[in-house]
């Protein structure tokens, strides 16, 4: 019996959702943070989408948001020229790091002791969170605003993507550029997968996979519409992408074939990420919502309930239909 995907819509934001990130798997499950142009990033339970809290304090659009591995800390990057670090259990603002321009990207090291920030002032900054009085280390080199900066190679190196149409690999100790990838057009998104050292890059209608250490191209895939973000499944059998035609696309990683496409969002999809267990993926859109999609449609997981031919389960709370 064919099952149709029922996306779970998480409402609450009042402006476009531009970034989202999952934490690792913690004893309390895993968590999801969403960055929104309304300036109020939200924390949600990762497997159900239930709202947990809103981080209040930014005075401008929040462009980037991230959680540390155990979801005890959150970091956000905003148009108010600050990056903020939050206690994501209490929701309190812990640190506000001033910058000289709009901050676009934030990323914790695995031990949560350092924060990498990047934005429109074209500089990468490394903040020591245990020594907040000290000035951050700065790495210059990009010729235009930096869209995304990520730690890679066990936090020994940094990958950055900027509007100068380059992606650069930097060595953290020497603070020097190691390698550069140049494109014909601006890169719309970049995701790093530590397990397997894979870099997922999107530009135009292309989703490209690179080796994160050598920056060698592994493979590419083409989507029917311009893509804003893509994410690779933890087991590397699928990847999902979303973009300007409002749809989510699911591809087979081995063959690069498009398997499925899903409608649901009412605006362009800005970000898409797989959960750490690969059971679902979340998408954020211009329409102000986040949607959770099942990887295996019809499987019982989170709020989705498997339907059996003979209903052995007496729970009468299950309901069919589009949310």
């Amino acid at each position: 019996m064919a099952m149709r995907q029922t996306p779970l819509t998480c409402s609450g934001h009042t402006r476009p959702v531009v970034d989202l990130a999952f934490s690792g798997i913690t004893p309390f499950g895993y968590f999801l943070i969403s960055a929104c142009k309304d300036g109020k990033p939200m924390l949600r339970q990762g497997d159900t989408g239930d709202w947990i809290g809103t981080f209040l304090g930014h005075k401008g659009a929040v462009w980037g948001a991230t959680l540390n591995m155990d979801a005890t800390k959150a970091a956000t990057a905003a148009a108010d020229f600050t990056a903020k670090v939050w206690d994501s259990v209490s929701g309190d603002e812990v640190l506000s790091l001033a910058h000289k321009h709009i901050v676009k990207s934030v990323n914790f090291t695995q031990d949560s002791n350092h924060l990498l920030t990047a934005g429109n002032d074209k500089l990468l900054r490394i903040f020591d969170l245990s020594n907040t009085d000290a000035a951050p280390q700065e790495i210059a080199g990009h010729g235009a605003a930096i869209k995304k900066a990520l730690w890679c190679n066990d936090d020994k190196q940094i990958l950055s993507a900027a509007d100068d149409k380059t992606i650069r690999l930097w060595d953290r100790t020497s603070m020097e550029e190691v390698k550069t990838l140049t494109f014909n057009t601006s890169v719309s998104s970049m995701e790093y997968m530590a397990d397997g050292e894979i870099l997922v890059i999107t530009y135009g209608k292309t989703i490209a996979f690179y080796n994160a250490l050598s920056l060698e191209l592994i493979k590419t895939a083409e989507a029917p519409a311009p893509i804003n973000s893509a994410s690779l499944h933890p087991e590397k059998d699928f990847f999902v992408a979303g973009g300007e035609d409002f749809k989510l696309y699911k591809f087979d990683y081995g063959t690069q074939e498009e398997l499925e496409s899903y409608k649901g969002h009412f605006g362009p999809v800005h970000c898409v990420r797989f959960s750490p267990d690969g059971e679902l993926y979340a998408s954020g859109s211009e329409d102000g919502t986040l949607r959770l999609w099942q990887t295996a449609v019809g499987k019982t997981y989170g709020l989705w309930k498997c339907v059996l031919p003979v209903c052995l389960d007496n729970s009468s709370e299950s309901q069919c239909g589009e949310p």
Binding site: M1, A2, M3, R4, Q5, T6, L8, T9, C10, S11, G12, F28, M42, L43, R44, T48, G49, D50, W51, I52, G53, T54, F55, L56, G57, T72, V89, S90, G91, E93, L292, Q294, V297, G298, L303, W304, K305, C306, V307, S315, E317, S318, Q319, C320, G321, E322, P323
Partner: protein, 128 residues
């Protein structure tokens, strides 16, 4: 004909009255160092806990009564960067994130109505 996957319920949305981070959630109780575990204190003294809780409620009640007493009174706020401003106090929001004031005297003029961010305030004084 494909049937849509059934769902138990929709994801819970934000609470319009608070910023969330429920202090009664298992994660908060386990991880928040400033919280007193109300069920079982790990190695804590039962009597000590009770005293501490009593002290907390007394202080909280005093703070709330103070906010009530300040209503419509002239209050002086001492803020960061050696800033001191005077205003007529209105009220606080539920999470004590903002104070609503009227006739805020600032170096650049008097603001008829304003919101003061509580994290910017170091202390405030008023005559009861």
């Amino acid at each position: 004909m494909a049937t849509p996957v059934p769902v138990l319920r929709l994801p819970k949305g934000p609470d319009p009255n608070s910023r969330g981070f429920d202090p009664n959630s298992p994660r908060y109780i386990a991880l928040c160092r400033t919280t007193v575990a109300t069920t079982e204190a790990a190695g804590g003294d039962e009597e000590e806990l009770q005293q501490e809780q009593h002290a907390r409620s007394v202080l909280r009640e005093r703070f709330l009564r103070c906010l009530l007493a300040m209503n419509n009174k002239k209050v002086r706020f001492n803020m960061h960067e050696n800033v001191t401003v005077e205003a007529t106090f209105g009220s606080s929001d539920i999470d004590v994130l903002n104070f609503q004031v009227s006739d805020l005297h600032t170096p650049i003029g008097v603001q008829k109505e304003a919101l003061i961010r509580s994290q910017d305030v170091i202390s405030f004084t008023f005559d009861a």
